[in-house]
């Protein structure tokens, strides 16, 4: 066909290829190594599956911590991390296999996922050798959990509004201020803490990323019960907390760059994990519908719409991972993933409530919990409105 096109225009083939248009994107390909891993994981998980974690929050956290330690012991943590950092040196496709296989177990969630998929890779990019030695091992076996201290009362979506200050004092930085919405603050050893070392609130420059020990003197953690009634996140107060300068990641006043790098890592596996979890919930919904004798056409259409959306979301996550793997992920591209995750999440549980009806949704079971929880997805980690702004600025190039 190409030859026919060239003949038609009486030019050489290479001369007619000058227009560069959008092409269909990459998608994640699972090769032999990934399929071998899948077999290995499936066998191991079927022997060691702890079943669903306890409903009680504290017991659940303990169970999830033990589960990640066991997975690490068996060699399944840090699959995509380089071997020299304690990983297996595999592709991101291997992490996708892990997420998919974990989703088949009772405990799909990795308690230290923030460290494994966001701060571990960021450290490998920007950390110095002593930081890598100090921080990476505890990420893998969940012996040191991580939290992230970005948001403040006056710095939510507007991250540059950070006011928590750190003053240099010899070989230490002295931190004073307040963070809010810090997930799992009370459980964590380390906080990837964004502080202001120069400039004024509202400026991107003058921020510094400080790896702060949450057991330090001067830190007060006050849980903020969510609408779910769980102490999932907290306010954290810093009163002259001393942090070694050696814990600065990426350089003093380089915190904005470090944060943006970390956010780039945040989405790929996370959205895939969530999409798999939502698939599981859809499958449970389908089981309930079958047990009740099937759905009417509107019910089937609702299930079909959610099924289709989850397929779209998974395809999007696979694309993101493929581009992350190849180093070709466009800045801002994962905002599409996050925006759509929130939409599908909320649509799934609203639709489930409609289909299942009050008997189920008024009961104190997981559906009610997830329906409420779904409202958080369009807020955390950058609201849907912020994601749209990023799409406009980064993907459409509108300033």
């Amino acid at each position: 066909m190409l030859a026919a096109l060239a003949v038609r225009r009486n030019v050489a083939v290479c001369d007619i290829v000058e227009v560069v248009l959008q092409t269909f994107p990459e998608t994640l390909a699972m090769g032999g190594a990934e399929e071998d891993l899948r077999t290995e994981l499936r066998a191991w998980i079927s022997d060691h599956d702890p079943g669903p974690p306890p409903a009680e929050y504290g017991a659940r956290i303990e169970a999830l911590t033990r589960w990640q330690a066991a997975l690490c012991e068996a060699g399944f943590m840090g699959l995509s991390w380089p071997v020299r950092y304690g990983g297996r040196g595999m592709s991101l496709a291997a992490e996708a296999v892990l997420a998919e296989e974990l989703a088949r177990s009772g405990a799909a969630e990795l308690i230290n996922r923030l460290a494994l998929y966001t701060w571990g890779p960021t450290l490998m990019d920007m950390g110095d050798p002593s930081q890598l030695r100090r921080f990476l091992p505890g990420m893998l076996d969940a012996s040191e959990l991580w939290c992230q201290g970005f948001s403040e009362p006056d710095a939510g979506s507007d991250l540059a509004g950070v006011r928590t200050r750190a003053e240099m004092d010899g070989e230490e930085l002295v931190v004073t201020g307040q963070k809010v919405w810090t997930s799992r603050a009370e459980l964590s050893t380390w906080n990837a803490l964004l502080v202001r070392t120069a400039g004024d609130p509202g400026q991107h420059r003058g921020l510094t990323l400080l790896i702060t020990n949450m057991k330090s003197d001067g830190i007060t953690i006050r849980p903020l019960p969510q609408m779910l009634g769980e102490p999932h996140f907290s306010e954290v107060f810093f009163d002259e907390v001393r942090v070694p300068v050696a814990n600065v990641l990426g350089g003093v006043n380089e915190g904005w760059r470090v944060s943006m790098k970390a956010m780039g890592y945040e989405r790929g596996i996370f959205v895939l994990e969530r999409s798999i979890r939502l698939r599981r919930r859809l499958s449970e919904l389908a089981d309930r519908v079958r047990a009740a004798g099937g759905a009417d056409r509107a019910g089937l259409a609702g299930i079909g719409r959610i099924h289709a959306s989850l397929e779209m979301l998974t395809a999007q996550a696979y694309r993101t991972l493929a581009h992350q793997q190849a180093g070709t992920l466009l800045p801002g591209a994962t905002s599409v993933d996050k925006l759509y995750l929130a939409e599908v999440y909320q649509d799934l549980f609203s639709t489930a409530a409609e289909i299942l009806g009050p008997e189920v949704t008024l009961a104190d079971d997981g559906w009610t919990h997830d329906l409420l929880e779904s409202r958080s997805v369009s807020i955390y980690s950058g609201t849907s409105e912020i994601q749209k702004n990023i799409i406009v600025g980064r993907l459409l190039g509108i300033r």
């Binding site: 096109l5 269909f24 390909a29 099924h307 397929e311 998974t314 694309r319 599409v336 702004n389 406009v392």
Partner: protein, 340 residues
Amino acid sequence: MSELAAAFHQALGELLPFSEAVERAREHRSLSASARAEIVGMGWNGLMTPEEAGGLGLGVGEVIDLCAVAGEHLLPVALLDESLLLAPALAAAGHSGLVGVVDGEVAGGGGYVTEGSGDMDAGGMLAVSGVGVRLSPGAGLAALCHPRWTAVISLEDPGVDLERADALDRAQGVHVLSTAGVRPEVVLDGWADGGAVAAGWLAGLLADLVGGAERIMSLSVSHARSRNQFGRPLTRFQAVTHLLAEMKARLELMRSAVARVAFVMDEGNWDPAFLAGLLWSVPAYAREVCESAIQVHGGIGFTWEYGLHLYYRRILSLQSMLGGALNTAAQAGRAYMDAG
């Protein structure tokens, strides 16, 4: 974009100027015989026909790029039906009509038969009613795709009744087909049972929608950049830019999903429930993109001359001919429930 698709993009840009498409639709004119001959002469009708049968034997992953170009340039959809459904169906059955279709001497077309609009009886006779098909001028053969079967019929059969119906998608050769006691020339598996011919064609139609949506997106961004209101460009109004962001997100999701379905089809490892889902989502999202584009453009987007309606008509007609949003969603739900 592949070299092939980039070259095709340039060729269609010359053969199918947009202003001409606007005029053709106004006058209900089909593609000119010479333009059709040029496109068929490039090998278009043999895209998915195996090389040993005289085609190009392209995989789904290669074909979707070309279909996106076709959608962007508003190539009559009947040509996709001929190339991606009719010819591969004839090839799969070893039917002697294949050569004429690939060479472009026999015109054809195709359409989708929803579960409610007819079926094949136990004796292999086809009875359908009110099925939308797209036909090139002088079509002699039509390929029909039902979830459970794919068939080719001769339009010369006395049991065939055709009525022109181009109220919505003008210049596309849309007809309403009814048959009584027609024996198909070819019968193959349907896509819901893993039929690869029908699945490849459906992937091509979905890619066509992606190409159209890409064009609509870029028109909308250009318009918002250049149009000033209240002393500043539309891109300074967040109400407008958030519409653009939603359009862009839909477009990227469509691209990811169509790339994925093509990839798994070429791997020979695809799930009919996945395809069933996309038959709802891709047309629905293309429609959302186009409706928002008309809104972003304001009055100019509603004019005949500007031509957004050509994309809108194409999307509405494809969506409706696949069964419509509610039916395709319910079909996806049924496929999901059956697979589980």
